[in-house]
Amino acid sequence: MAMSPKREPIWADARLRGFVLQALFLAAVVALLAMFALNAAENLRALNRASGFGFLDQVAGFDIAFHLIDYGRASTFLDALWVGLLNTLLVAVIGIVLATVLGFLLGIGQLSSNWLVAKLATAYIEFVRNVPLLLQIFFWYFSMMSPLPRPQSAIEIGGVAFLSNRGLFVPRIEGVEGSGLFLIVLAACVSAFFLLRRLSHKRRERTGTPLPMLPISLGLLAIVPAAAFFLTGVPFTADIPVLAGRNFTGGMAITPELIALVLALSLYTASYIGEIVRSGIEGVPKGQAEASAALGLSRGQRLRLVIIPQAMRIIIPPLTSQYLNLTKNSSLAAAIAFPDLVHVFAGTALNQTGQAIEILAITMIIYLAISLLTSLAMNVYNARIQLKER
């Protein structure tokens, strides 16, 4: 009698089971989403609310205190969206630059051979990291910016900038005739400098002697631009803010909300970056530092030429997520009414139109896009600096 294979029960077939499981899971998710959609349609009908994206072309009719592009009474909700998005990006960019600089200083400071500096950096990080960002934003805004003197008795900085509870007023630099020519010369000098620096590196790798970079950089970055500056007849004027009545006019106004937000964001994120940089540097094998010391490199050269480039490989991925966190955290602007994307669009515009679904969807998609683009850019950079296995 031939051995007939024992029939397995139908649920023991892994592929079939996986298929059924997935079908059920998908059905559950689709059912949930469908229920949401049906309910939303029903509820919106009951509330008699408009839907769709037509509102973007309507006149917004609210004022925005701080805008980088033209915005006025006749502007639409779409314009408001742009204003908010640009403000968010402005805060993110300034915050990222400041947080990176301070964070690297903190990270290197923690490893300093100077006992006091190392302890100070650690104490700063341990304090700032363990207090909620929102609280820090409130502190900078309500405890530091609000009690500043009124514009009439503003704190003067060098006679050209003024700090008051209306914000920081700084001179606005404006180009006059000839400024275009000067900027072209400046750009040419800077690009020539970078080009020559590259050539110098190449030459040193090939022949051992670099180009004389000191006179080159002095000439290209200082002497030629300075000469061009005066030859074009000092083509800039500074519009210095002046007190007129109860506030300043002229110059450039940096609102107290922006100052508080940028300060809090960069000080907070710097504490995280400090830890990332410290562990990145500690992740470089000790032999690397000893080998470079044996080659006679100075302390600064060791750090700049040997340690940091290797540490960067460890630092970049977590640094990226800190940049993304900073950008997402800039949405806390809403709490102190800085007109960022969330405050202008998901706050004011949402209250005016009542179209919560559309507005929140747009807001979230924009943040998602920013996140994806930033991680894409950082991934490209990361791939470039990774160890090339030969």
Partner: protein
């Protein structure tokens, strides 16, 4: 001329504070400059802070007038007067023992679980995960066993902060584990949906998710089915931190060697028993410090519920600033300092605990691997 004595390889190192300072503070001109700059920084920050927070501070008083004098430091009298509100929010005075009971049971349970060497961890853990939330809910909201109903709108202060944080922590770990398993699943539909959820939530700010919970969720649910506003915020916080937790757990899962999966499979374990008995215990142990860090982040993020109108610890401080009875030039800063101290104490002790875990518990695993 030749030197006859041998030169020691290293100059003799002195002892005592002077030598220590020479080695650690003034070893080079650059180091000396750094030390002086650091001392200068300390000089312009620490004495004014001590003056403000302690020496010129007002410690007692019944009204805001005690803090109105110019040059007044911190107004601790305000904190003393509002202390109950800062801890309990607007919870009825007569019912506050219920909140106290929740605090005490929670503190004992967490202490028991966090202290190594204490027995019956499994039973206490199960109690804290399953029974404690139910007991807390019944105690806090009432309506059963003759307890008066206290609507969640009255919960506030530190009580609310802890409720949001603990709920987030308790819910985010199992949800995060499920999401992480889903993300590594062989079933494409499950995997894609989990990746989509995790990446979506991690790509948007928490505040937009909170807005969604407070503005959109009522629209998406059928007429009449209205969730408590607090519950909606809790769901938002839990889902948000679950996505972050999922990525942490995934890191742990990736660190478990493939051989462990194969060994478990060769023992005939099915998927859930393989994960539950073999893989997850190892994975979670490796990433324990990161899990605690996620909890710390979550604890700080609870302060965002104040933006959607809750009176958590930070929210109640913000409300206090607007209170005319205690409106003084120093009210806001005093409140922030006090709230910062509380948040700091919680987060710092969690981070110390995580560092201690890393040294003492995770070390055992590395040792086992080396044999």
């Amino acid at each position: 001329m030749a030197r006859t004595s041998t030169v020691s390889a290293k100059p003799p190192r002195g002892a005592g504070p002077i030598a220590w300072m020479r080695d650690n503070l003034f070893s080079s001109p650059f180091n000396t400059a750094l030390t002086l700059a650091a001392l200068g920084l300390l000089w312009i920050t620490v004495p004014p802070f001590i003056n403000w927070a302690f020496i010129n501070a007002v410690w007692s008083g019944e009204t805001r007038d005690v803090c109105m004098a110019p040059e007044t430091g911190a107004c601790w009298a305000y904190i003393a007067a509002r202390f109950d509100q800062i801890v309990y929010g607007f919870y009825e005075k007569a019912e506050r023992w219920r909140a106290d009971a929740v605090f005490i049971i929670g503190a004992i349970g967490i202490f028991w679980l966090a202290t190594p060497g204490l027995r019956a961890k499994r039973a206490i853990g199960a109690f804290m995960l399953i029974a404690y939330p139910v007991i807390s809910y019944v105690l806090l909201s009432g309506g059963l066993f003759g307890l008066d109903v206290v609507p969640s709108a009255k919960w506030g202060g530190l009580l609310l902060t802890l409720i949001v944080a603990v709920t987030g922590i308790v819910a985010s770990l199992p949800l995060g584990i499920l999401l992480a398993l889903g993300r590594r699943s062989k079933l494409p539909v499950v995997r894609i949906l989990c990746i989509g959820f995790i990446e979506f939530v991690r790509g948007v700010p928490l505040i937009t998710i909170l807005f969604m919970a407070s503005n959109l969720l009522p629209l998406f649910l059928p007429e009449g089915l209205v969730f408590d506003k607090l519950l909606r915020a809790l769901v938002a916080v839990a889902l948000f931190s679950a996505a972050y937790m999922a990525e942490v757990v995934r890191g742990g899962l990736q660190a478990v060697p493939q051989g462990q999966y194969e060994a478990a499979a060769s023992l005939g374990l099915g998927y859930w028993r393989m994960m539950g008995l073999i893989i997850l215990p190892q994975a979670l142990k490796t990433v324990m410090p990161s899990i605690v860090n996620t909890f710390i982040g979550l604890f700080k993020d609870t302060s965002l519920v104040s933006i959607i109108g809750f009176s958590d610890l930070l929210g109640i401080i913000q409300k206090g600033n607007a209170d005319p009875e205690w409106s003084t030039p120093v009210t806001a800063t005093t409140g922030y300092l006090f709230a910062a101290a509380i948040f700091w104490a919680f987060c710092f002790s969690m981070s110390r605990y995580s560092a201690w875990l890393e040294r003492n518990v995770a070390g055992g695993k590395a040792g086992a691997g080396k044999t």
